[in-house]
């Protein structure tokens, strides 16, 4: 076992055990905090596929996070008010079932990611950042003006949605559900990184000319990466809204997109565990520093500056050095 897998296993184990410990020592708030971290980690793992593997600096991933959030909000809203979502040409009812909500979130964010990708992937560098940002703002302002679903105030859900066999109202159970999803997605993402697709995507980031001259289309590779990426972040959005039992336009905000990037840079760009470590550290800092001062973002800024200037590989890079090429 390499140092890296050891570290990753330890990180995952800590993520599983700390909330369990908090649960038994009667600290439900810590469990909720951990749930938040795990869900944000999931969102950032989604971004990692576009950013870390594909080199696509998307400043619009909040679009997918928000779509997931609103998928949950809207479906649950109609279920709790006993009004159908639409009646013509066929009736669609709301639902309080998490699996259905997740499916809707994933499908919608994939479709939107496909079209955003189609338009934005023609550009690169700063233009790509700007276009994705612009899409983010479009969705943000649309959500604000969408009065049917709360507009600026967002939507509240009275009771957390259900999952067969799990009492999602119990914090530790909902946590376990989120953790399992994160672990499963990370398993697939790890496979993806080493798959034929992952190899080609990685190469398309480093040497697109090379990828073309061996007969592969870098643009198409990036587009599929962007769709997968958006789908995962969308799923995280649905969970996030369920955690808070609330969704609002802030899920679409560019600050949200920025935070996802921060998680990745903080934890370690290019590594699958980077976004996880980054999200956990961020949530912990937000909690600890937030208690100390309302201006905790200043400290965060200093930390980020430090990481960017002195520890390019983020926290994991600092601890483990450069990633060794794997077999």
């Amino acid at each position: 076992m390499t140092r890296e897998t050891l570290f990753n296993s330890a990180a995952l184990a800590a993520l599983a055990l700390v909330p369990l410990w908090a649960h038994f020592s009667g600290e439900p708030f810590t469990v909720t905090l951990a749930t938040r971290a795990v869900i944000l980690a999931l969102a950032a793992v989604g971004l990692h596929i576009a950013l870390g593997l594909g080199g696509l600096v998307s400043l619009g991933h909040a679009v997918f996070f928000g779509i997931g959030g609103y998928a949950m909000g809207i479906l649950a809203h109609h279920a709790q008010t006993y009004t159908p979502l639409m009646e013509w040409p066929f009736v669609i009812e709301g639902t309080k079932s998490m699996p259905v909500i997740w499916l809707v979130a994933v499908v919608l964010s994939s479709v939107v990611a496909y079209f955003i990708g189609l338009l934005s992937l023609r550009t690169s560098g700063v233009y790509f950042i700007m276009i994705t940002l612009a899409f983010g703002q479009m969705f943000f302002f649309f959500a604000i003006s969408w009065s049917a679903y709360g507009g600026e105030d967002g939507l509240s859900i009275y009771v957390r949605n259900g999952f067969p066999g799990v009492n999602t109202l119990v914090p530790i159970q909902f946590y376990a559900l989120c953790f399992v999803i994160l672990a499963a997605v990370m398993f697939f993402a790890a496979r993806l990184q080493r798959s034929p697709f992952g190899l080609a995507l990685n190469a398309a980031r480093q040497a697109p000319d090379r990828v073309e001259t061996v007969g592969l289309n870098p643009m198409r590779l990036r587009l599929i990466a962007f769709v997968l990426s958006g789908a995962i972040t969308g799923l995280a959005g649905a969970l996030f809204a369920d955690l808070n039992r609330f969704v609002s336009p802030t899920m679409f905000s560019w600050q949200m997109s920025g935070e996802l990037i921060i998680f990745i840079i903080l934890g370690g760009l290019g590594r699958l565990y980077g976004p996880v470590v980054g999200a956990v550290v961020f949530v912990a800092l937000e909690h600890i520093l937030g208690d100390l001062s309302d201006y905790w973002h200043i400290y965060l800024g200093v930390l980020l500056l430090g990481v960017v200037l002195f520890a390019r590989g983020g926290i994991i890079g600092m601890l483990l050095g450069r990633e060794v090429a794997h077999d």
Partner: protein
């Protein structure tokens, strides 16, 4: 007469007032090495780009195995059988040597849409990649990060990746550049044999290599082919001496 494997017909390309390609017609026959020589800025790389894709000629056509490929994007020309090496190495530097070769094999195989099975456990891809690495002598560096290779080794890897495609024609832009005498000599020997697998369109400044290898030479000056012929014909050609070869002939 048999048909050319690869041919350009009356290709012209201007960058503003600069004529980078001026009515260029060259062809590549089975089993031959056709060298393209000419001074810096003559338009050799520009010609290669139009042949391999990435740059569209203003007029003229590019034919591969008799098919007009002028409007095909780069990746489809590669699939149709072009194996290209770059003047400046274009490799995935963070990846290992083996991963770069496997990428080539994957491209040759044509299906990157597999998301689960580890690519380095795919026996077919590995075999193709290792065989190519062995042929250029990089097999002992398979696990080395490409960024750690010497310049010469990167040139070898460029060739190896092209080999994995099992192309119908090779197009090489200065493969000897920066190799040193020993390296050039080895690669010269290697290319000499390779022409029997697939013909090579070879852009090269190294005249020893060109004279040793080429079945035919075309001389490009200011985007125009001023002469095409055998080594002897080109060495004897007065225009070529004036324009390019000078004392080297």
């Amino acid at each position: 007469m048999t048909e050319a494997i690869l041919a350009t017909q009356g290709i012209s390309k201007s960058f503003g007032a600069l004529k980078a390609s001026d009515d260029v017609s060259i062809d590549l026959m089975a089993g031959e090495i056709h060298a393209i020589i000419g001074p810096n800025g003559a338009g050799k790389s520009t010609l290669i780009k139009q042949i391999c894709g990435g740059l569209k000629p203003d007029t003229g056509t590019v034919k591969l195995l008799g098919e007009d490929v002028t409007d095909l994007p780069t990746e489809l020309r590669a699939r149709a059988g072009l194996g290209r090496t770059f003047q400046i190495s274009a490799l995935a530097m963070e990846d290992t040597v083996l991963q770069n070769a496997v990428l080539g094999a994957l491209g040759g195989q044509g299906n990157p849409w597999r998301f689960f099975k580890p690519v380095l456990k795919d026996k077919d891809l590995l075999d193709t990649a290792m065989e190519a690495l062995e042929r250029v002598g990089l097999q002992d560096h398979a696990k080395t990060r490409t960024a750690e290779l010497s310049h010469g080794q990167r040139r070898q890897l460029e060739v190896a990746v092209a080999l994995t495609l099992k192309p119908k024609a090779f197009v090489m832009d200065e493969p000897m550049a920066g190799l040193g005498t020993e390296g050039s000599k080895r690669l010269t020997e290697f290319l000499g044999d390779l022409r029997h697998q697939a013909p090579i369109l070879l852009v090269e400044h190294d005249m020893d290599a060109v004279f040793a290898l080429a079945d035919r030479i075309s001389v490009l000056v200011y985007g125009k082919v001023i002469a095409t012929g055998t080594v002897e014909e080109i060495r004897a050609n007065k225009d070529v001496r004036d324009a390019y070869l000078g004392d080297e002939a």
